[in-house]
């Protein structure tokens, strides 16, 4: 990730520009959220007037059914997909395959992991956990007539050859949406490869999937967010392509899809929206900078989170979507170092939200499953901790005992489980107070 951190830093050399730009970006997202219901209605009306069809889904199941119904009406059996994190939320590929429809990822990284039956480990670079040897072996095994090569250009060439045929033959294309502008009813898709354009313009039907939060009020909100997104994500001043889709093929056009469908998915977002503080989660433009800069993510990797969205944004989003009962552990996968907060281009206060969610997990609140993360052992431990830290004599006694006898604590109970995969921590031989006193620093 060091490479990406460096590339991003090069793109924001001027701190004043960075501050002004992200303030604009945050303002555009916050304004869109403040007017969300009205903007969604305006977006729907504009898109319909432009000739698109608009569908709404409360759950991922409903969204899958909407997509299936559209495909069945056209008798579509082969679908090509551009990158879409919403489709990952829906597990759309598995759903379509179970209904006998081929759903092929065409972003190179997504294509690679789909061949290996995996999920993305990063929202921008889905196959970042694989090296070229693994990809070379995978292509050699899974792609007919592909010779073994570890050359990146040749591997890319193999994927190009296979996927070009698939684009040509596809009955429908599915994509995500980066921004949807209510003012004009335009869908913005950002990409480097061209697979998104292939998926949205070659097949006769295009289905775009978006979360309800993706809407922007005005066209002029796009340029600051576009530059924030590409610079934050991959350190590029701009992506190779910005694909702006406002309408299906008009009567005199010679190509482009004859039908464009927009599926607007809620999937717990309207619940997150209800709380003004938690709502800031929905500002996210999915740049992935928080992951690239996270000391936890860069060590454990994206799959360790066992969630669609890994890294800091996943740590605040997943527990809110799936509930704190099962996912409150994610809120603790952070040292609260604040690196993500510093780089977030839309100023999401990730650390504060993590603390809020930790608190709700044990003490109750508005988030789904609030209070269900409470355990008696943990509550008891912290109650004791609080006592000790509130009383200087108790603190002195306990810290003296810990430094003298701590190494004899046997690994039983929770400590045993904990040490099965970790080294047991060692106490210092003297307390910090003792050590500083020896250095000549008087007690206060």
């Amino acid at each position: 990730m060091d490479g990406l951190i460096g590339k991003r830093a090069v793109q924001f050399p001027d701190q004043e520009e960075w501050a002004a730009l992200r303030a604009r970006g945050a303002e555009a997202r916050a304004r869109a959220l403040a007017n969300l219901p009205d903007l969604l209605i305006r977006l729907e009306a504009r898109c319909r007037a432009n000739g698109m069809e608009v569908h709404w889904a409360e759950t991922t199941e409903e969204a899958n059914e909407e997509v299936l119904a559209i495909l069945n009406r056209r008798g579509a059996k082969h679908v090509v997909k551009g990158k879409s994190m919403v489709s990952e939320e829906m597990h759309l590929n598995d759903f379509l395959e179970s209904h006998g429809i081929e759903s092929l990822e065409s972003d190179l990284g997504e294509y690679i992991i789909q061949l290996d039956h995996e999920t993305p480990s990063h929202i921008i670079m889905p196959a970042i956990h694989k090296n070229r040897k693994q990809i070379a072996r995978l292509f050699g095994e899974k792609i007919r007539a592909a010779k073994y090569t570890e050359d990146v250009d040749e591997l890319t060439g193999i994927a190009r050859r296979v996927l070009r045929r698939k684009f040509e033959e596809a009955d429908a294309g599915v994509s995500g949406v980066n921004f949807a502008v209510a003012e004009t009813g335009t869908l913005f898709l950002i990409e480097n490869e061209g697979n998104g354009r292939m998926s949205t313009h070659v097949p006769p039907v295009h289905i775009a999937l978006m979360g309800i939060e993706k809407v922007l009020e005005r066209l002029e909100d796009v340029p600051p967010l576009l530059t924030l997104l590409t610079r934050s994500a991959t350190g590029q001043p701009i992506s190779t392509y910005l694909n702006m889709i406002t309408a299906p093929r008009s009567r005199d056009e010679k190509d482009g899809p004859r039908e464009v469908h927009l599926v607007i998915l809620d999937n717990a977002r309207s619940r997150i929206y209800a709380d003004p503080e938690l709502r800031t989660t929905l500002r996210c433009i999915r740049c992935g900078a928080c992951m690239n800069h996270c000391p936890v993510y860069t060590r454990v990797g994206g799959h360790a989170y066992d969630a669609v969205y890994p890294g800091p944004i996943g740590k605040i989003l997943t527990p809110q979507v799936e509930g704190l009962a099962h996912r409150h552990d994610l809120t603790h996968a952070s040292s609260l170092c604040g690196a993500c907060v510093e780089v977030c281009p839309v100023q999401i206060p990730i650390s504060s939200l993590l603390i809020r969610l930790r608190k709700e997990a044990s003490s109750g609140g508005v988030v789904k499953g609030a209070g269900e993360g409470r355990t008696r052992a943990e509550a008891f431990t912290w109650a004791v901790w609080k006592r000790i830290h509130a009383s200087p004599p108790a603190y002195r006694v306990v810290s003296w005992l810990a430094t003298r006898l701590g190494r004899f604590v046997p690994a039983v109970g929770p400590l045993k489980a904990w040490t099965t995969v970790r080294t047991k921590p060692r106490f210092a031989h003297k307390t910090l107070h003792e050590l500083t006193r020896e250095e000549g620093v008087p007690d206060v």
Binding site: E16, V202, K254, P276
Partner: protein
């Protein structure tokens, strides 16, 4: 299903709208003001950094410049918009010029397999990021700048704007967007394998900008 889902989602959003947070609008981002020549240089520098190639020509000579280039790279069949040439282009035995004059359904395989390059015009450029602006039209359809492995784009050097925000505002895009609009800032590329940059993954492998002045 759809109508009731719509109603329930909007109702939940509406009931939550009280206490909506609004962020302060940040200061205007400083914008460089460049002269026409500086804009050309900036666009070229930015695009060359991502492997875009450049040719220079004037309003009369560009067809021969472009054809000479196409011959030099061995392009045999070259796609162009129906109204690209105001006068008949110079005859070339080596290059067959194919106008895009029928719906894609009638020749999809031919386009994917047998077209070596395409020539399109552009609506303008953006200096700041090194970007071409294309508004595909019935004359110059959407796939021309995507499917052929080589894309030759004509750019009028008088139509290079400073920033994306400038061109949106100056041309009042909000008043009416075309069915499809594109910003193109180089040949197709990817870094999905070990973060190693590779060009020509799905779209054109080469992008050649012809600066017409």
């Amino acid at each position: 299903m759809s109508e009731t889902a719509r109603g329930r989602i909007l109702e939940r959003l509406r009931s939550a709208s009280v206490g909506a947070q609004r962020a302060e609008r940040g200061a205007q981002v400083k914008q460089p003001k460049r002269s026409r020549d500086e804009r050309v240089v900036r666009l070229r520098t930015m695009m060359e950094a991502v492997r875009t190639e450049f040719l220079e020509a004037d309003r009369e000579s560009w067809p021969s410049t472009v054809l000479a280039f196409l011959v030099s790279i061995g392009a045999k069949r070259v796609l162009h918009g129906a109204n690209l040439f105001s006068v008949a282009p110079p005859d070339s035995a080596a290059v067959e010029l194919v106008p895009y004059d029928k719906p894609i359904e009638e020749w999809k395989t031919d386009m994917f397999s047998n077209i070596d390059a395409a020539i399109t015009t552009t609506r303008g450029g953006i200096a700041e990021t090194g970007t071409l602006i294309l508004w595909p039209s019935p004359d110059e359809p959407r796939l021309m700048s995507l499917v052929p492995p080589v894309h030759v784009a004509l750019l009028d050097t008088n139509k290079i704007h400073d920033t994306f925000a400038d061109v949106m505002r100056d041309e009042n895009w909000a008043a009416g967007m075309p069915p499809n609009a594109l910003l193109i800032s180089g040949p197709s590329k990817t870094a999905d394998i070990e973060q190693t940059l590779a060009y020509g993954v799905h779209g054109p492998k080469r992008l050649i900008v012809v600066l017409v002045s």
